[in-house]
């Protein structure tokens, strides 16, 4: 039997003003990062509902990362401050449920930080790949 090479599936939510532009800049500068990362554009990191994060995990994502403007630089003044609180609590809760904390991350990437975007994605993809498939979030109910 041929063993299929494990490829993590990573969903990245990027705010339109900073991080999505940062991702575009990474592209403009031809900075490589794994194709496992798929970006979803949202107007602001504060648009990301914890439900979206869980939904991604539920549907088989191995890692979810949120990128937004640096605190203080939010296009909408304060959106990312709320994101920061929401995700701090959500991530802490996931950790409390015994889910690997490396599967979730929030990173502030400005429109000027193409290199940081690529480096972040490389690092995150590597960490998620090291964890392997996301079993825990799928299987909490079923005892095996």
């Amino acid at each position: 039997m041929q063993v299929k090479e494990y490829k993590p599936l990573i969903v990245a939510f990027c705010c339109n003003w900073c991080s999505y532009a940062g991702a575009d800049l990474a592209g403009n500068n031809r900075l490589n990062y794994p194709a496992d990362v798929k970006i979803i554009r949202v107007p602001c990191s504060c648009r990301v509902n914890p439900m979206f994060v869980l939904r991604a995990f539920q549907r088989g994502a191995d890692g979810v990362i949120l990128c937004g403007c640096h605190p203080g630089d939010c296009h909408y003044t304060s959106g990312n401050y709320y994101t920061r609180r929401r995700m701090a609590l959500l991530f802490s809760m996931l950790d409390y449920l015994g889910i690997e904390k490396e599967r979730t991350r929030v990173e502030w990437v400005s429109a000027a930080e193409g290199a940081k975007f690529a480096a972040t994605m490389n690092d995150f993809a590597e960490k998620v790949a090291a964890l392997g498939e996301n079993k825990r979030l799928e299987d909490l109910r079923c005892k095996r």
């Binding site: 539920q58 605190p71 609180r85 959500l90 809760m93 409390y96 449920l97 799928e138 909490l140 109910r141």
Partner: protein, 330 residues
């Protein structure tokens, strides 16, 4: 045994009905058994005398019922509030969920409520009657002639063992004496889980949540879950999920539910009380409360009306989501 008696409460309710202050009374009445007490609306003194109950099983928090009852009832509603109920009462006022003018709140002291599961563990199954009027609970079963006498302290519900406050934060009138906010050990259980390894935590929660049958009792009883339409019951939300379709959904449901009430949950403990599967759901809510206290400073939802909940607030130097794992207490 509770310090105030059923008769005192009926007398108070009857007089307020008689002088026209209120037009109906939100109180407890006996269900099928002595211990499954249900909320009820009373409109006359006779109804009160016939069915009103006040004993160690009157745990139900009435605050939530005010949301719909104030819209339906002509005139004011009398509601009896135990100390922990008053926090929910305030939280709902903060969220403009009912009209304060339509409620006459009577604060009543509470000596803690009994957990029927603990009673059954001592007295056994087949309980036919429980008398709470004496020093001890007298539990009669169909198997024994003499009632089993149980010390109320031994069967206190978990939330009452870890009671956070005997102080009423809202009322129009108080019967009996007011107590104080208590320095409870309610976060000890959370800390114990936090101290486990990730694998142990996972195993713990897998064991607990795997019992969930998605009856939605926790949601329906929760005084913070008063949404006109729950996202999990809304076919247009893309998240409609009335029963678990796949293995992940209990967790999704419980995390989201806990998240939706984070910063709004007063830790009244109703979710755990009503869970037919005895899942310690309060440990999810308390985790958020503990985190909020340690990340953003102590905050008690419902302690005052109009306070800004931690999730609709921020400071420019809040800790980063990545830092929650670096903290010593995690």
């Amino acid at each position: 045994m509770q310090k105030i008696t059923r008769d005192q409460l009926i007398e108070k309710a009857a007089s307020l009905l008689a002088n026209g202050t209120v037009s109906c009374v939100l109180g407890w009445q006996k269900g099928e058994f002595d211990y499954d007490i249900t909320p009820a609306v009373f409109e006359t003194e006779d109804e009160l005398k016939a069915n009103f109950v006040w004993n160690d099983f009157c745990g139900a928090n009435f605050s939530k019922y005010l949301v719909s009852k104030t819209k339906k009832c002509e005139g004011k509603i009398l509601v009896f509030l135990k100390p922990c109920d008053t926090y929910s009462f305030n939280q709902l006022l903060t969220e403009h969920r009912f009209d304060r003018e339509k409620v006459y709140a009577v604060g009543i002291p509470c000596e803690g409520m009994a957990d029927i599961a603990k009673v059954k563990a001592i007295a056994g199954d087949g309980i036919s009657a429980i008398d709470c009027s004496g020093e001890k609970l007298a539990v009669t079963t169909i198997y024994e002639d003499a009632p089993v006498m149980i010390d109320a302290k031994d069967v206190l519900a978990e939330r009452c063992v870890n009671c956070k406050s005997k102080k009423h934060v809202a009322y129009d009138e108080l019967i009996g004496e007011d107590g104080d906010v208590i320095d409870s050990a309610r976060f000890d259980e959370v800390a114990k889980i936090e101290a486990m390894t990730p694998d142990e935590r996972f195993a713990f929660w897998q064991n607990e949540l795997s019992r969930c049958i998605r009856c939605n009792a926790c949601r329906d009883i929760c005084p913070a879950c008063t949404c006109e339409k729950c996202v999990f019951g809304n076919p247009n939300s893309s998240l409609e999920n009335k029963s678990p379709a796949n293995s992940f959904e209990e967790k999704m449901f419980h995390i989201i539910r806990a998240f939706h009430v984070a910063g709004r949950c007063t830790d009244c403990g109703e979710c755990s009380r009503v869970c037919p599967q005895h899942i310690p759901l309060h440990l999810l809510n308390r985790k958020f409360i503990k985190d909020i206290d340690s990340f953003y400073g102590e905050y008690q939802a419902g302690a005052e009306v109009g306070s800004r909940a931690p999730l609709v607030n921020y400071t420019t130097d809040d800790l980063e989501p990545g830092e929650v794992f670096e903290r010593g207490d995690n």
